[in-house]
Amino acid sequence: MNADPIGVLTGSHYLDGDHSCSEGAIAAGCRFSAGYPITPSTEVVERLASRFPRVGGRFQQFEDELAASIAVLGAVWGGAKAVTVTSGPGFSLMMEHIGLAAITECPVVYINVQRGGPSTGLPTQPAQGDMMQARFGSHGDYRLIALCPNSPQECFDLTLRAFNLAEEYRVPVVVMLDEVVGHMTEKVVIPPADQIEVTPRRYTSKKPGDFKLFEAAEGSLVPEMVKAGDGYRVHVTGLTHDERGYPAMNVVAQDKMVKRQFAKIVENADKIITFEEKNLLGAEAVVVSFGITSRIAEKGMQLAREKGAKVGSFRLITAWPFPEKQIIELSKKVKAFVVPELNMGQMSLEVERLAAGRCRTIPVLHAGGTVHNPEVIAEAILEAVR
């Protein structure tokens, strides 16, 4: 269905990435947000706090991120599309509820504007050090979706998409910015509402007695939803549960629940995963990058090309699930992957694992605080094609 025009700021704007996320959320139909201030993400909820009362939404600042990250889950069961936003330390506090969202298959969006860590680290400076935390940060086995925009425009586009994916797969979706993308201002074009596709909540049409909240819908791996108050009298628990949602603490129930929750992401990976490829034809090296680092890598590739390197680019837009097939295919064709990232080696581990020795993987690591020097990336590319 199309976006509700009341929320959509159609037109060209100069927005920073944080504010653009807010607009993406509103366009997606998000009408509830809970938050707790933390640099460099606060602008997202500040804008929602200002915009929501004019578009029929509700923002609530809570006492901490533990509260904010579960208030959004309550709001989803109350029928709203909901988002919370944080950075670094706040993301750590939210982990328990990302797990709760995963096990209860709650369609919700978390936004993390990454800053330098560990701990309080570099509150105002960028990093990409939470990529593995986004994937594995909550205890136990689960799969979620993570997207990584590299511009304010993509902050709009991918926040919108995050809501759509959350509804499609009944899964928490994390939008992983970094401080530079969050704070850089660029042109953002917001289309007319009737050109914005919004995925509505997949409410069941079954009657209360016939409906099971955790039974995959026919021909799908994803169960349908209900809204509290509609007469379904559902039970939702963070314990391992059966298809009715009743606690079922045994090996069989655990196996069934965890495996279907994995499968709904893994088996739909081709539909979920997006990426951007450039200049791959005849490339000897491929730069795999994401977020702000992909913008810097452009310059690095240009410098390397000037020195004769045949280099192409593969930009991750979906971080999780990871584009495994694409990396495997590329690994058969090139001499090396060059993986610049603002951390001490996270996505490069995935690339290396998938390359499985068929080609080299050259991580270009940076502890964060600023972006890479493009010359360093260029040098790595030149080494890769040598």
């Binding site: 269905m1 009341i6 139909g29 009408r31 509830f32 809970a34 009362p53 004019r54 578009v55 029929g56 939404g57 509700r58 609530q60 809570f62 006492e63 901490d64 533990l66 509260a67 904010a68 579960i70 208030a71 959004v72 889950l73 309550g74 709001a75 989803v76 069961w77 109350g78 029928g79 709203a80 599309k81 909901a82 328990e96 509820h97 709760l100 995925t199 509505p200 909540r201 997949r202 409410y203 049409s205 349908e224 809204k227 509290a228 108050g229 509609d230 007469g231 379904y232 009298r233 559902v234 039970h235 939702v236 628990t237 963070g238 314990l239 009743y246 606690p247």
Partner: protein
């Protein structure tokens, strides 16, 4: 089986989940009986009542109620419930959890929800211990009482929960013991009717851990103690209702006042400041499948 069907509480319970996990003599079930009675008398549309629990023996209450029910994470039932209520204002939202869940790990949420007058009825079953994890000390374990992590007796000052809630601005505060079943049901009924942050503390026996470890007998002995040592003082100054080990228990309705709820305060502020530009929230309805 026919006996089960005739029991008036059955309509409120998920019978296919019984028997419950609770030990014989545990006070939690007693409070649930009272809650079902309060629901009957309230004549509320049960489709519009949601129950939210944290984690613990009391945290299992949500799972046994035949309502929209949410068993969340340890300590976080209140913020979940706040989000649920803000997103679907048609609901009556009840939080049902233990002393440890609500006042230890969830203490921050408890005080802030009372301060902001979140529209929730909070039922706190206080058994002076962490039942689910084997009887450790909680913020309400009386000084000198033995718990598994205070094997030589507790020595920290305890929370006087009614006083804490009163000070934070709760609009309704009551305390009863599991002996006072009629009064509990009545208080719960009043709580279900009222708007704003309502808090009911119920002192209840945990025979398996707290009573046994303190050599206080069984559930029945504890009921005798509640009967003999509790003093009804409606409207009591909440500063005077703190509890000491195995001593007098002041019970009653201590606070009943009016204050704008979180939603009302929000609405008023936006209406005053934004005027016609304010678009009040409406809970998104169920759309047909695309």
């Amino acid at each position: 089986m026919s006996e089960l069907r005739e029991n008036p509480v059955n309509e409120y319970l998920r019978l296919d989940r019984l028997p419950s996990i609770w030990c014989p003599g545990c006070g939690i079930g007693t409070t649930v009986n009272c809650f079902t009675r309060a629901l009957t008398e309230s004549k509320l549309d049960l489709d519009k009542v949601a129950i939210v629990s944290g984690i613990g023996c009391t945290g299992r209450v949500a799972g046994y109620m035949n309502l929209d029910s949410f068993h969340t994470t340890h300590g976080r039932a209140i913020p979940f419930a706040t989000g649920l209520k803000l997103a679907n204002p048609d609901l009556k939202v009840v939080v049902y959890s233990g002393d440890g869940d609500l006042s230890a790990i969830g203490g921050n949420h408890l005080v802030h929800a009372a301060r902001r007058n979140a529209d929730l009825l909070v039922v706190c079953v206080n058994n002076f211990t962490y039942g689910m994890t084997g009887g450790q000390v909680t913020p309400t374990t009386p000084i000198s009482a033995v718990a598994s992590t205070t094997p030589y007796g507790a020595y920290e000052e305890t929370f006087n929960l009614p006083n804490l809630m009163d000070a934070c601005g709760a609009v309704y505060v009551a305390r009863w013991t599991a002996f006072h079943v009629r009064q509990i049901a009545k208080s719960m009924g009043e709580g279900l009717k009222k708007k704003g942050f309502r808090f009911i503390e119920i002192i209840a026996p945990c025979p398996t851990l707290y009573l046994r470890r303190n050599k206080l007998g069984d559930g029945l002995d504890e009921m005798k103690y509640y009967k003999e040592k509790s003093v009804v003082k409606n409207g009591a100054d909440t500063r005077e209702v703190g509890l000491d080990y195995h001593d007098k228990i002041v019970v009653g309705k201590f606070v009943d006042r009016e204050r704008p709820t979180l939603e009302e305060a929000m609405d008023k502020r936006f209406t005053d400041v934004l005027g016609a530009k304010y678009v009040p929230y409406t809970s998104p309805g169920k759309q047909p499948l695309a």
